[in-house]
């Protein structure tokens, strides 16, 4: 049996799972120390499921803690941002285009060194080890406890980053080091940004991971625990301690995957309707389709792959106007319990409409009895038209797909949607995040520029697939369960010589139970 936990900014959720079955689920406020909130929810689900701690074979945790730390500029370390690439890259030093306050928080300790590689593995310049020794001493003198190292084309050739780490450690044995090739893909500034952010989280990640560890110990759970990353796969705690930045945006991914599991669908649309907005995403092979655009985190450009989610202004608190013809995008939000008509307020909301239509019984029904039938009908039509339009906009083909409804606002949807082959309202959808964490798999990925000279495209692709699968196995996947779930091939434009960038992702089931 597994326990999935989601530590959000507001609530900590847990789900106790036996295979695909949810035995128990609960929610509790997130505590400032994180750990005690986790202990509370784990105790609760174990008691609800009447399961002894010894029966638990794995605990999976999803958390937004690290994202929030960057967004709120809290508990971040000063960072030595070291770049290997001179004489290239000089035009844009590290921290270029960062929000001023965040760059200040991190101390602007930037260093540029000769080194780096070309796309085909040649050296831009030999690594300037003397300069690195000098920097290592300077880093110690400045009292910095965390460093990031980013080398040009390190996703192709990581050697120089590894060597730089050795040199830094000789002088600073306890320093935390973030190497960019472990974090990001081709796209230098974005990868460097992510590495620097990662380095700034070094202290917090140790604290959070140890609080997770202690929480399990307190309940005598001896099973291993894992933390979910942004692509919906799992990392071991040691890895998260070193690479907390990989947890960014794991929340939406877990939520969509959890909803899919609850609904028993692998290819489907998910519409998560909250108080103000509906978030619509698409699942392909059980994983969210990823966004193609650069993602801003706390004002910093990164190249993390985030689920492609469309937010539209439709929620349980959306304001209804023009006799139901216009809904949202504004909402009474958290004030719904005082401003909606059924709660004694003076604003007509979507929740009032579904109550007036007799579809739900919330608050004081008599307060919406005066709404004309025509307004109710028009508003219901508008609601379904917005939801259907959003689902259709996120689909990749005209074919109808199953639509999974999640979130408190899903009461708004009572009719069929033309873009949906069927509507599914799974039980326990409110803890889909925790369930998504519990069912997460382990993955391996490669993203590199390959030369096709003297070889064939098929041979290169096969090699890339094999390597991604090996990485998934190394990350703890059960042999025989590893599958290639994504292949992307982009030839280098304007560059004859048959070089192509290939990204392959493999996932497999976790080798426990």
């Amino acid at each position: 049996m597994r326990i999935g936990i989601d530590v959000g900014g507001t609530n900590t959720d847990a789900a106790l799972m036996d295979g695909p079955n949810v035995l128990a689920a609960c929610k509790s406020p997130t505590t400032s120390d994180v750990g005690s909130g986790i202990v509370t929810v784990m105790k609760t689900v174990l008691a609800m499921g009447r399961v002894p701690a010894s029966e638990i074979s794995a605990v999976m945790i999803g958390t937004t803690h690290f994202t929030n730390a960057v967004v709120e500029r809290r508990r971040l370390l000063a960072v030595a941002a070291i770049r290997l690439g001179l004489p290239a890259t000089k035009a844009l030093p590290p921290l270029t285009d960062w929000p001023k306050d965040l760059a200040d928080t991190l101390g602007r300790h930037t260093f540029m060194v000769r080194g780096g590689h070309e796309f085909d593995g040649r050296k831009i310049a030999p690594l300037d080890e003397k300069e690195l020794v000098r920097i290592a001493k300077d880093v110690r003198a400045r009292g910095l406890r965390s460093a990031s190292v980013t080398s040009v084309f390190s996703p192709v050739t990581p050697d120089m980053e590894l060597r730089a780490a050795e040199i830094l450690r000789e002088e600073n044995p306890d320093i935390a080091i973030s190497l960019s090739h472990e974090i990001g893909r081709v796209g230098f500034l974005e990868r460097e940004n992510a590495s620097i952010m990662n380095a700034s989280l070094a202290d917090l990640s140790r604290k959070v991971v140890s609080s997770f560890r202690n929480a399990l110990k307190e309940l005598s759970i001896e099973a291993p625990f894992y933390i979910s990353q942004n692509d919906g796969t799992l990392m071991v705690p040691d890895y998260v301690e070193r690479y907390p930045v990989l947890t960014f945006a794991s929340g939406p991914t877990n939520s969509m995957r959890g909803a899919a599991m609850l609904a028993g669908e692998k290819d489907a649309m998910v519409i998560d309707i909250g108080g103000t907005t509906s978030d619509v995403g698409m699942l392909m092979h059980g994983f969210p389709r990823e966004s193609a655009v650069a993602v801003d985190i706390g004002g910093v450009r990164t190249n993390f792959r985030m689920p492609d989610v469309l937010a539209v202004g439709l929620g349980g608190g959306s304001i209804v106007r023009d006799d139901g013809a216009r809904i949202g995008p504004d909402s009474v939000g958290y004030e719904i319990t005082s401003r909606a008509l059924v709660f004694g307020g003076d604003t007509l909301t979507t929740t009032d409409i579904v109550v007036a239509a007799g579809l739900e019984d919330i608050g004081d029904r008599s307060r919406v009895a005066h709404i004309p039938a025509k307004t109710i009908e028009t508003a219901l039509n508008t609601i379904h038209r917005i939801a259907d339009g959003a689902v259709d906009r996120m689909k990749t083909s005209a074919e109808p797909l199953p639509v999974i409804l999640a979130g408190g606002g899903s009461i708004l949807i009572s009719r069929d949607l033309p873009s949906a082959s069927k509507l599914i309202r799974p039980e326990n959808a409110s803890v889909a995040n925790a369930i998504g964490a519990a069912i997460a798999q382990v993955g391996g990925e490669i993203d590199r520029i390959f030369s096709l000279e003297g070889t064939s495209r098929d041979a290169v692709l096969d090699g890339a697939k094999a390597e991604a699968s090996e990485r998934a196995l190394a990350a703890g996947a059960k042999p025989g369960t590893v599958k290639i779930i994504d292949i992307e091939e982009v030839p280098l434009a304007y560059l004859p010589g048959s070089a192509t960038r290939i990204r392959v992702k493999a996932v497999g089931d976790l080798a426990v139970e």
């Binding site: 285009d97 982009v490 434009a493 004859p496």
Partner: protein
Amino acid sequence: MKLNSEQLCDLAVGAAFLGTGGGGNPYVGRLMVQQCLDEGLTVEIIDPKELKDDALVIPTAMMGAPTVLVEKIPSGDEAISSLRRLERHLGRTAHATMPIEIGGINSTIPLVVGARMGLPIVDADGMGRAFPFLEMETFGVYGISGSPLAISDEYGDGAIINAVDNRQMEWLARAIAIRMGGSAYIAEYAMSGADVKRTAVPNTMTLAIRIGAVLRKARAEHRNAFDALLGFLPSTLYRYGKLIFSGKMIDVHRETKNGFSIGRARIEGLAPFSSVMEIEIQNENLVARVDGKVRAIVPDLICIMNTETAEPITSEELRYGQRVTVLAVSVPEIMRSPEALDVFGPACFGLKEPFTPIEEIA
């Protein structure tokens, strides 16, 4: 005109639009220019009319793979080295630099050169959009030699190419660019002020800035950005624009042929559009067809934009499922003459259909 940060952001958007899918994302170039502005340097843009007829103008540019550029960020000195190298070779000093290509990243490289060297940048270019080859320049169409060309990398390596024609110059320079690591920086098509006025597509730098500004303002005022842009174009040399399709990306196919990214994007129409638009891509969008019929063709602009945000989308960023709107825009007459079409018309890209101006396609 002294460029400010807001105009720089607008330029990046307008340059991506004029890139019609190619030319590389101007993000890195924009940051390099911003760095100059932050250092207090001046980016002075001048109208071609302000050039003396005997002034020497040396255009500067990046050549190679944008995918390499976003990983191997320039040192910032490469294009300057090329310009200096060409000056030494010619035994003359440049009065100004100029873009050879307004679409994509190459709109920004001359701005860095100008700011760092204290040279003005001429508000004009030789492509009026983005093209994949160095010979595809109105400069060359109207008789200017691209050679001698200077090429440099970040190490300080450099070369001068004297080729028999502009096509051969392109061929030789690209080979060197690969040896230089896949991206290199060039100075070429040195010409007089009189030749700039005669052969360049005028005012494309300010056009790109204005396009960016129109889109930005429309978004801020919650107006339809496509309508705003189409309403603006008649006041420019790109006087006719038309929204030719809107829908959902249902297929993107890419392959490498002769070192170029050849592709096809298929867009399924959303009301009021129906059927499927197919766009052929060779780095840039070359031709748009619906049911086998041409709806727009090179050198007219075919711009794929995000339907929600009205942001231009580059060929490398195209993905399944995107909601896109396609705009077709007429290019200035200087780019549509028989001589011009001989150098960058449909036949130059292996297309069988003749060039038909977008105004004449129903």
